[in-house]
Symmetry: C2
Subunit: 477 residues, 2 copies
């Protein structure tokens, strides 16, 4: 094992330790409940993942019908499936060698699907053109991100390659950066301003980075994860100007683009914002934008499909990227089909449209209601504060832990917010994850939980959380 | 881009160039045929991949029915599906969080499936115990292999890390080794002895390697790809003793274990061979064995699922491997379900058993017949010679190219066997791949083509190949 591998192993283990303590205890509790051990709850609710189906959200019928028809085309013989389901399945199967989802496809994805994803992006961005040759479909967006990072990060460079990364940030990207030997350069989001991305803070981070590494990339998450902000066009323009000035490659994690809940809030892609700024910025700033079937209303995490669109990259680099993607023979074909449906859902007039609208609207309404209730309930509790959740799949409220709680945690060898999450799990049967997993300003503590649940489950979570939180604060005050 | 990245990029491009010239021309020919350009064939037959469905093999009904039921559980309401299909689907869905294939699962795979794969391995190996904690399910076996190589290969070491690799060898592993900065140490299989793996040749390769790198791994492919040999128990024992003596980690690519055609031929896993040799070897030789749903009779390449089983690894290394696998959130859940069926097919008495047997027997019989015909036809042609194909998915015959053909190829800037493949494509509409893609003894030339096709397609291929080959040899004699 190389020294680098050992270091990254240690850091990974540290990062994973906090959560794995909770996961292990969850499994024990589940076993205890099965054996009839009495607790104040009958089952553990797991909202520690960004995984809607795990949290009780139902899959979309159109997606599943199309996939089932593709898997077992004999299903199309009867009259059980709507005509648009059959047409979609036939179109997708025609695009597969041998007409089977069991065949390999091209490195960048099934060409017809890549084309349709590209058309979707053009529509989404109000006509800003997207080109199929700039799109790679992969086994999830994180795999695509890792491949792009491999191009950016020179693991042998001295000083090391730096990538500016938000705090808080979901841990998968940080782990990828560390595994590649990159320097993670933290910039802090302004919690008190609704987790705003502040360019002055980017400046500060870049300045401090220059002393220890060579910053080449800027990673942004919009809508946020774990913090549920949605960036304004103006904020994005500032970020783009900053990236241009410092010659940073922009890595835009936009996987929650379909999950925007604020009434006045709109998702604008970095690609669109960049195009609207015109030349020379629109011709020069290098950008990679990521999306996935795992997130959004579809929530098909287990199918493993995502894509990256690349903008303004040098042709030689594009060739290198092709090589990197070809190391994985191809993305799962069924996941690619789900991506086709995500980017090309049923349209008004299609037989499946009414049910599709009903199901997606139901999810939207439930999650919007969940968000309203989460903010209402949490902000009414003592020592608990939740910024507006405008998008994404998570609430990331701040817990003002009493000094006695912090001290007790330290005595137990736990981080204070892990201690809080552990007690919440133990006493109320709710599995959330601690802010220390994601990074937070020193001396502040948070918890993260998924808001994409059926409303009745969110009510139950809030009921358990409220009762627990009051008791906890009393105990340690 | 780092120097290393640049070098590996160049080598990759070289490796891919030969084939991509053929693939590009194939697309042009397909377009020409669509536009009505007259040729001696009506469509191109693509046997350049190890992809049975692409080559016309039909998917297995039981696999597809179970997956369709899991994707769209409403299908189980009617009476269209057999009771064992429903039971299997229900069992698999119970193992998923939220009962959905759309949920993430554990890093190593759905625990219940890992357990069942482990039981299968124990049965396969005549009772040699397999432990679920040593198994990782991944997005295809190649992804698992790359992760294991990451542990073995220290990209910063001097001298470089070496891995003994067979010649010929399918190119994906070679590309993975190069991308990680490993030294590929070639050992040549003995074509004239049916592509036998000769320990003396391993000794020679190891000796020559010691001068330029630090050999730590030995990669074996059994059954072979592209060469269709199946190793005997005795040969494996010799290889194991050699690995033990030189302290090499054994990487056993056993993805074609279900594709053995020789009448007297039997697949024995390296794990079983090792266990049978007893202590101290069975307790010390480090081994990774790979398998996949892409290969074998199922041929579900597009679902992307495989696994690795690890034997005799240090617990600290196992912990590191867990970290590497956790970088990819999880393998595609539907692929994992296919893996469950592959390792646990319907049994006598099950309602789906008769059809399952009929379909798998049909594939076995066709491929055995294909192999017989390929050997018969090719060995009857002048300047063409095919070793017995005992297993795997490919024939890899040697073409004795006339000096004039070699000269013409050089004038065209092509490798001689690429020139042969190009002419075969152009004149006969058969897409194969040249031996130079896989490595071969200098001065020898081969072509590789998939033998897993329906029998009538193989007859058509052999008819086209025979006519073409005779004309080609005449032209250049």
């Amino acid at each position: 094992m190389s020294a680098l591998q050992e270091i990254s192993l240690n850091i990974r283990n540290m990062k994973q330790l906090e959560y794995s303590v909770l996961a292990r205890r969850t499994n024990q509790i589940k076993d205890e409940l099965k054996k009839g051990v009495k607790k104040s709850y009958r089952e553990v609710i797991d909202v520690s993942w960004g995984d809607p189906h795990r949290a009780g959200v139902k899959p979309l019928s159109f997606v599943r019908q199309v996939l089932a028809a593709c898997i077992y085309p004999q299903l199309m013989d009867g009259d059980k499936l709507m005509v648009d389901v059959k047409q979609r399945a036939q179109m997708l199967l025609r695009a597969c060698p041998g007409g089977s989802v069991g065949s390999y496809c091209a490195t960048a994805g099934v060409p017809e699907i890549v084309e349709r994803v590209s058309e979707y992006i053009t529509r989404r961005d109000g006509g800003v053109p997207s080109h199929p040759e700039n799109i790679y479909i992969s086994s999830g967006s994180q795999w695509a991100l890792t491949n792009i990072l491999k191009v950016l990060v020179n693991s042998e460079a001295s000083p090391r390659t730096g990538v500016l990364t938000p705090v808080p940030c979901h841990s998968t990207t940080i782990l990828s950066l560390m595994a590649l030997g990159a320097e993670v350069v933290p910039y802090y989001l302004r919690e008190e301003q609704g987790w705003a991305l502040d360019v002055e803070e980017l400046q500060r981070a870049w300045g401090s980075a220059k002393e220890v590494c060579n910053p080449v990339g800027l990673y942004v998450i919009n809508p946020g994860n774990p913090a549920g902000y949605v960036q304004s066009r103006k904020s994005m323009q500032e970020v783009i100007r900053f990236a241009a000035e410092k010659r940073l490659f922009l890595l835009a994690d936009e996987v929650y683009q379909d999950c925007v809940f604020g009434e006045e809030t709109e998702f604008v892609s970095y690609k669109r914002a960049l195009a609207e700024m015109g030349s020379p910025l629109s011709d020069t700033v290098e950008l990679a934008s990521f999306h996935t079937t795992s997130k959004g209303l579809m929530g098909e995490c287990g199918l493993r499909a995502g894509y990256v669109e690349l903008v303004n990259l040098d042709p030689a680099v594009m060739k290198h990227i092709y090589s990197l993607f070809s190391a994985d023979s191809c993305a799962p074909v069924l996941g690619q089909f789900a991506l086709d449906v995500m980017t090309n859902p049923p349209q008004p007039g299609d037989p499946s449209y009414p049910l599709y609208m009903k199901e997606t609207q139901h999810i939207r309404t439930s999650v919007a209601e969940n968000v309203r209730r989460v903010e209402e309930v949490i902000n009414s509790l003592p020592g608990f504060s939740c910024q507006p959740v405008e998008g994404g799949a998570f609430a990331f409220p701040r817990v003002f832990l009493p000094p006695k709680a912090i001290e007790t945690a330290k005595e137990l060898g736990m981080k204070p917010d892990t201690f809080y999450c552990m007690r919440l799990l133990e006493e109320a049967g709710v599995l959330s994850s601690p802010g220390s997993e994601y990074g937070q300003q020193e001396g502040t503590y948070h918890i993260r939980f998924c808001i994409m649940t059926p409303s009745e489950i969110m009510e139950e979570i809030l009921r358990r959380l409220s009762t627990f939180h009051k008791r906890f604060m009393n105990e340690f005050s």
